[in-house]
């Protein structure tokens, strides 16, 4: 099995001496193509640190991060930036769309930054928006979009082009339950289409969309859910739900 992202014995320490904080301790995590993994834990458990390290935005104090078959620490700064632009998509709680750009321009931006010609980038962005039922909103600015639409645009931006890894930090935190569910359906669909997904959250409802839930406590992976039993064990006739 080929892991899209793999953390091997990753530790992260901020500060030193008496102010030293161990944000992550000896974390192993591997996510395959097509798999959606939720990392669940309370505030301060190291979830967001784990996501920034998996996304190569930060380097761990110890351990190895592999994206595809490449050891990230061996890449040059430029190669790492290129890997981030081409292979990794990020979704944040507050959408992080650029206000002066339309939906389609927001989605096309990472492709253009990577050297794709404007027309080709726009075509790919329109296709990504259409897949998320947003073709009609392509020329709207972020302040003309609802919260649910904004997060769908952010997902389109995260999966446009040839991205293989989708990283999301509390992606439904700013949405009501109906829009939150719609967003998680899209994340799940992206994973079914071959993307590896990692969602960090403290919300059990959101985590329950994942194929596997990994529990983080004080920077350590303490547990994970077993693979789902099949066929359905809960909603069978005679079973009390």
């Amino acid at each position: 099995m080929n892991a899209v992202v793999e953390l091997r014995a990753v530790s992260m320490v901020y500060g030193s001496g008496p102010t030293e904080v161990h944000a992550l301790r000896d974390v192993d995590l591997s996510v395959q193509a097509g798999e959606l993994v939720a990392v669940m834990g309370p505030s301060g458990s190291g979830k967001s640190t784990l996501l920034t390290i998996a996304g190569t935005l930060e380097e761990p104090s110890e351990g190895e991060v592999r994206i595809g078959d490449r050891d990230v620490s061996r890449l040059s700064r430029n190669d790492r930036a290129r890997l981030r632009r081409r292979s990794i998509g990020y979704v944040f709680q507050d959408f992080n769309l650029i206000p002066g750009l339309t939906a389609v321009e927001n989605v096309a931006l990472p492709l253009e930054l990577d050297g794709v010609r404007v027309r080709a980038a726009r075509a790919a962005a329109l296709e990504a928006l259409a897949r998320l039922d947003l073709a009609g909103r392509a020329d709207r600015y972020p302040d003309e979009l609802s919260g649910g639409e904004s997060q769908r645009v952010a997902i389109a931006r995260a999966v446009v082009g040839d991205r293989r890894l989708l990283l999301a930090d509390e992606p439904t935190g700013a949405l009501d339950s109906v829009n939150g569910e719609a967003v998680m359906r899209l994340v799940r669909t992206a994973c079914r289409d071959g993307v590896a997904g990692v969602v960090v959250t403290h919300d059990a409802q959101l985590a329950s969309w994942a194929d596997r839930v990994v529990f983080l406590r004080d920077g350590r992976v303490v547990d994970q859910t077993a693979p789902r039993p099949g066929p359905e064990s809960l909603l069978t006739p005679g079973a009390k739900p």
């Binding site: 359906r185 064990s233 909603l235």
Partner: protein, 191 residues
């Protein structure tokens, strides 16, 4: 769950046979609560005895049931009566955790995690059902959501318990709390 009132609800849009009522009951509850035919007929007999329905026909499966005015009134009252929200006298999980605090050698965070994992696994199963069902299957969606919110409440309680027990771990030693001194506390605490 009240089968009586569910049957009255099904009869509110027109007369029906017993078998028909069973089928509609199951489809309206997302096929989660199976109901046997015997239960349907016994309940219908009682509803008729109480004047909430009337029947017509040669008996058994041939009988057609119709809701009466009294039945319609009873249904309206039932729909608007809030369910009992008083907690069960003994919540097993709460008792387990409370008891565990005094048991030597029990790793409390680990104990909470065992229960949290099982609850999240159950939520994953329900969410999987929701993910696979047709998005317009409102009945099944309602049933699944209700279970998800119920289990989520348990997970949130476990998270809160975790945070509280951290405080307990930080406490130096377990000493019995002094008996409350009713009536004197206010002046006694002032310096």
């Amino acid at each position: 769950m009240s089968v009586r009132h569910a049957l009255l609800a099904l009869l509110s849009d027109g007369p029906k046979y017993g078998l028909q009522l069973r089928q509609e009951f199951e489809s309206r509850t997302g096929e989660v609560w199976p109901l046997n035919v015997g239960q349907v007929y016994t309940t219908l007999q009682r509803l008729e005895r109480d004047g909430f329905v009337e029947s017509e026909g040669s008996g058994g499966p041939q009988n057609v049931f119709t809701i009466t005015t009294t039945g319609t009134d009873e249904l309206a009252v039932w729909l608007r009566t809030p369910p009992d929200v008083v907690p069960p006298p003994r919540d097993e999980l709460v008792i387990k955790v409370l008891v565990a605090i005094g048991v030597p050698g029990v790793d409390l965070p680990e104990l909470l995690q065992v229960h949290r994992r099982r609850m999240v696994e159950a939520m994953q199963e329900y969410t999987h059902v929701k993910g696979e069902m047709a998005e317009d299957d409102v009945e099944l969606g309602l049933v699944v959501d209700s279970e998800l919110f119920r289990i989520e409440a348990i997970v949130r309680w476990l998270d809160a318990a975790d945070a509280r027990l951290k405080q307990l771990a930080a406490r130096p030693a377990r000493t019995p709390a002094p008996a409350p001194r009713i009536g004197r506390a206010r002046t006694g605490n002032r310096r």
